[in-house]
Amino acid sequence: MATMAQTDTENAGRVRRQSFRLPLAVISYLQAIPLTLILGFFLLLPIIMIAVVSFWDYDFAQMYPDFLTMNYAETLGSWVTWKTYLNTLKYAVLVWAITLVIGFWVAYFLAFHIRTTSMQMVLFLICTVPFLTSNIIRMISWIPVLGRNGLINSALVNSGVISEPVEWLLYSDFAVVLAMVHLYTLFMVTPIFNTLMRIDKSLVEAARDAGASSWQVLSNVIIPLAKPGMAIGTIFVVTLVMADFSTVQVMSGGQSASVALMMKNQMSLLQYPAAAANAVVLLVLVLLMVAGILRIVDIRKEL
């Protein structure tokens, strides 16, 4: 509490003399300590641990401290790994493209076609609420819809469009991508909506006065200004898809693999060093992707 009490002493050098005060810099450090400690112990240290363990030896029961590159050689030397990485990247690209299109149009509709702020907020909340409920429940909720005797198949069979139920709706790549789009679209909507709301409406009017068509306004004014939001949404969606194992496992019915699912299987076989080597490779890949995106957008400015 002592730190909080001193928080607002910084502005304009108005520090008074009547009572003892901690120097401003010290206050900042005190306020930053809890976050630093928590992230240090539960994020940095575990990642360092993974990097260390990825060089260890192991058998069916235990890990042995060592310095072996065997885990990496096994991971990177296996064509299964490469296929799994390609498959995960395929999901990432598909889900990214679909959520980007849906996310942009939903955000554009909310920001430019809804006239009152309260209505905007209500519609935005309607989009947000499902994302605050359980991912697993939302995933399995597709089963009665897509399954062999599910809603879509019965509707199609009963209306005579098809004679046999379609098999590829559930337990397929289609189901995986559909469920991921369902789970992750909001992460695209929110940042794009945020940037669109900050576009000065007079820019749009100026473009119109200068004779631009709606399409030209969209492609020359709005979309370029929405790029930072799209970049942040991309970071969210790509990292979530790259890390996903439960959607792939449940919705593909065990027929497809992702990198994280491969890791999870190694973990359930207690092959921690192998999983750790995989984790390091995946982490490097994800961080490179994020670093690439951060080159085109400064997150601190967009908040």
């Binding site: 909080m4 009490a5 001193q6 928080t7 607002d8 502005n11 304009a12 810099a25 206050i27 900042s28 306020q31 930053a32 809890p34 976050l35 992230l39 539960f42 994020l43 575990p46 641990m49 993974i50 363990v53 849906i102 509709f109 430019f112 076609h113 519609l123 989009c127 499902p130 605050l132 409920t133 359980s134 697993i136 429940i137 399995i140 909720s141 089963i143 009665p144 819809v145 399954g147 005797n149 599910g150 809603l151 409406k201 990292t239 790259m242 890390a243 194992f245 994280a260 890791m263 999870k264 973990m267 921690y272 984790a279 995946l282 982490l283 994800v286 961080l287 994020v290 997150i299 908040l303």
Partner: protein, 272 residues
Amino acid sequence: MYREKRSREFYLLAIFFAVFVLFLYGPLSAILILSFQGPNGGLTFPLNGVSLRWFANLFETQAVGDFGGSFRRSAMLGIMVMLVTVVVSLLAGLAFRRKFIGATALFYLAVASLVVPSIIVSLGIGVLFSQLGLQPAWYSSAFGAHLTWTLPFGVLIMFAVFNRFSPAYEEAARDLGASSWQTFSNVVLPMIAPSLIGVGLFGFTLSYDEFARTLMTAGSFNTLPLEIYGMTTNVTTPVLYALGTVTTIFSFLVIAGTLGLIVHLNRRRQRS
């Protein structure tokens, strides 16, 4: 563009938006309806009668494992994560208002916490605890694992809030003779209270629904999402849907209560 008649673009986009909302809520309502499946009904439509049998089933321990216990653990963990997230994010948000050495590094550490795949966090904390000789448990290792997911959200929200926060109010309060603590508790805190409640809502719901980060860190007792995930592979009756309905309604109640509180606070502030 604004006060004109609605364009064709508006109607097309309105239909698109409606389809999107249907896409979001449609499958959830399928689960809701099917959880009232009759005693002989299966996992898909049609409904074979209507009953509350599967809800009753939830409370028989042999049918679904430990539903009550895992729900209590998840709710408790959610509350712990919520409280810590609110306090720590607020402090970090205040710290970031000034420049200090390491601020950029700390900011990017928070961003990293958001983008590091959750299963890696889970594996790392699991291995770390076993190497330190600590017993993983939902209130220690899973608690920390959840914080790595909720704190970056909280910090980014507070960062955005203070970006838009004018120091003029604090200066005015100080000119009127308020102490630092009075300025904070009577001026700053009421103004950012709705955002803090929002951070709390994020903290609770993200933790309550978190699954991947709990996988390796929960220790010997399951949280609710782990329990549900286990059920997806071995339960073949609508009791799964009943559980889904109950937890979703619980989430809806939490969200509605929080939003109600935020609206109430905003109204009261506008009146005064």
